[in-house]
């Protein structure tokens, strides 16, 4: 029997539906999540199955309904909030960082906040500076939060189910450009633990450590590199926190050359932490400095030729890898 394929969006929806069937405390809060199924149509059909009490349309009040989710999570629900564009997490930082992330600790372990925030990342949709950011570095910086960055439909389903079952606040970033990407997704009730990296492709000459949207870019670049005789390993941390340092470092030790890729702004971003961890852990094995590739340090421009220049592509990764391997 051929493996079943789902799109990334379908995988997310299936994870939610399965968890909502399994546990009546799971509910969804967000703007246009019900009949509209979100502007990206990721949630289509859920309100029909679970009703408007569990798939709840909210006003445009990101701080407000995120705060409500924190309180609801503390008192017996398992809310999943939907923040349409990752750029709008700016409005929820107090609730996520000063409240959700700290409640368990500040209460000496008494209260828990089992909630999930689903939001998006990624540029190149011609949506300009306020609808194109990839701000996962901020949440990754905050103790008390977990941060998930799925890169395939398979991972999306398994990781989202783990996130919903987790007893802590988890932020789940979905790449908008990936919603239509297809891939095999088992019908089973499988979960993928948070904090375990995945080697998406094995190789010997160079490691590409990539998150979310950049995993597909890395895999594409690996194909091209293969033709040039460069064997490329692609490692996907899958969660920036908890971080599976060992898998990253082991791969770096094996290949001795590493490029880290993340679609957030390059400066003070996810790539900095990953590079620092690898540079420290594989110090004596590296042949060259770890190279970082992220979004250019500019607000994302609207104009297509400019926007395209801000994000790493298969081509720019290929060139960087080639030059690192001395095949320039």
């Amino acid at each position: 029997m051929p493996e079943r394929e789902l799109t990334f969006a379908q995988a997310v929806r299936e994870a939610l539906a399965e968890e909502m069937r399994r546990d009546s405390r799971v509910c969804i809060l967000g703007e246009d999540v019900a009949e509209a199924g979100t502007p990206f149509k990721v949630l289509s059909g859920l309100v029909e199955e679970f009703g408007a009490k569990r798939v709840v349309d909210t006003p445009i009040s990101e701080a407000g309904f995120t705060g409500v989710a924190v309180g609801a999570a503390m008192t017996g629900m398992r809310p999943v909030v939907d923040i349409m564009f990752g750029d709008f997490i700016t409005l929820t930082m107090d609730q996520m960082v000063n409240q959700a992330a700290k409640v368990h600790y500040m209460s000496g372990g008494h209260w828990k906040v089992p909630m999930v925030m689903r939001t998006t990342l990624g540029a190149t949709r011609r949506s300009a500076a306020q609808h194109s950011q990839s701000l996962q570095a901020w949440f990754s910086h905050v103790p008390g939060l977990k941060v998930v960055l799925p890169s395939t439909p398979y991972d999306a389903k398994g990781l989202l189910k783990s996130a919903i079952r987790d007893e802590n606040p988890v932020v789940f970033f979905e790449d908008k450009m990936m919603y239509k990407l297809k891939g095999p997704v088992p019908e089973d009730d499988y979960t993928i633990p948070l904090g375990v990296a995945d080697v998406k492709r094995e190789g010997d000459d160079i490691t590409l450590v990539a998150t979310s949207s950049m995993v597909q870019v890395a895999l594409g670049a690996a194909e091209l590199l293969e033709k040039e005789g460069i064997s490329t390993e692609v490692v996907d941390p899958r969660t920036t926190w908890p971080l599976d340092e060992k898998t990253l470092i082991d791969s770096a030790k094996k290949t001795s050359r590493v490029i880290v890729l993340d679609e957030g702004y390059g400066r003070y971003g996810v790539t900095a932490e990953l590079a620092a961890v690898i540079a420290e852990g594989a110090f004596y094995d590296l042949d060259a400095p770890v190279k970082r590739m992220g979004a250019m340090h500019v607000p994302i421009p609207f104009s297509p030729p400019l926007e395209d220049a801000t994000v790493p592509t298969e081509q720019t990764v290929l060139e960087a890898a080639r030059s690192m391997c001395g095949n320039q």
Binding site: P59, I60, S61, R126, A128, V298, P304
Partner: protein
């Protein structure tokens, strides 16, 4: 092509000089037609796959932007929204540079860096459209703060959809504006929908009560009647300019199209009949046109002529934009810092 510079009546009225009743309303008519036909072109660019990304059309709501901006001076400020083309045009922007911006071209208002949702134009006091719902309420209030502190007598108008009533920052700044008696007018464009949800499902209590709570002067107006909007706005703007303080104006209106150009099948959240009723019974351009004819300020043929002229203007503006070059890629890291 820029209405502010090309149209003497507008200049005079903007400069506070009384133009004739007839000239004023004919100008308003032309402005509304400009917005309508601008948006027609935008939709066309989208369906022809010539425009990158999406856009949110203002068709149906023209009387709000025009009624209010006709009561403003060119040096007064506005802030606008994701549904901002109407505000920009009404405040005096040129269609050619706007289209260029929508296509990401170098001659656009923002050199292509902003796009549809971020058009800004210092020459007409346009502080910029904003893609964060409620994102500009602070900016408009700050412009009023500066006007008051610098002792010029400018006024700032903050346009926002009724969806922005969900954003807490609106309440924070209304409190500040009233405490400090700032010359800012909060204009709530109640087009009935926040994206795909009727506003009554997201709005407890009343809209005006939200401003009234802060002791702010409030009013409500039929947003399809440009003369009514203009009259009420004129009074509130005068009041603000004189230092009495802010105001909040609810304009009831309707967007003819989807939430954005791609929102085609929308019967799950509103009926075709509802859309049709607004278009046939309460179209702001028809309403003003009938009045102009009734008053013998104009006749059907002359009004037709305006549509014809504006359409030509829009066509050539689109052409300008299509032919314009993209910015050079090297520009990508310019303007990050001033």
């Amino acid at each position: 092509m820029n209405p502010v510079t090309s149209n003497p009546e507008a200049r005079e009225s903007a400069a506070g000089k009384p133009a004739t009743e007839k000239d004023r309303w004919l100008h308003a008519y032309r402005q509304m037609v400009s917005i309508r036909l601008f948006e027609e072109q935008v939709n066309d660019l989208y369906t022809r796959a010539l425009m990158p990304g999406l856009a949110h059309l203002y068709s149906g709501e023209e009387a709000v932007a025009v009624g209010i901006c006709e009561a403003l001076r060119v040096d007064d400020y506005i802030t606008s929204t994701h549904r901002g083309h109407g505000h920009c045009l009404a405040k005096g922007a040129s269609p050619d540079r706007m289209f260029a911006e929508l296509l990401g071209k170098e001659t656009g208002y923002c050199r292509g860096k902003g796009g549809s949702m971020h058009i800004a134009d210092p020459a007409t006091g346009n502080l910029g459209a904003n893609a964060i719902v409620g994102g500009s309420v602070g900016i408009a209030t700050g412009a009023a703060f500066a006007a008051k502190n610098l002792g010029n007598d400018r006024v700032a108008v903050c346009f926002f959809g009724e969806g922005a009533l969900g954003q807490g920052s609106l309440y924070e700044v209304m409190n500040l504006a009233q405490l400090w008696k700032l010359p800012v007018i909060y204009v709530c464009e109640n087009n009935q929908y926040n994206e795909y949800t009727h506003f009554q499902e997201t709005t407890a209590g009343t809209i005006l009560g939200r401003a009234h709570a802060f002791g702010i002067e409030t009013d409500i107006v039929d947003g399809q009647d440009v003369r009514a909007v203009n009259k009420i706005a004129g009074g509130l703007i005068k009041r603000a300019r004189s230092g009495v303080g802010p105001a909040f104006l609810q304009c009831d209106t309707y967007r003819y199209s989807g939430h954005h150009v791609g929102d085609i099948n929308r019967e799950y959240y509103r009926s075709k009949q509802e859309e049709q009723a607004w278009k046939s019974d309460r179209d702001p351009i028809k309403v003003l046109g009938s009045w102009l004819i009734e008053q013998r300020h104009s006749d059907a043929a002359s009004l037709e002529e305006i549509w014809y002229e504006v359409r030509k203007e829009m066509e050539s503006a689109v052409k300008f934009a299509i032919e314009a070059p993209y910015p050079k890629v090297e520009e990508v890291d310019q303007h990050v810092y001033a």
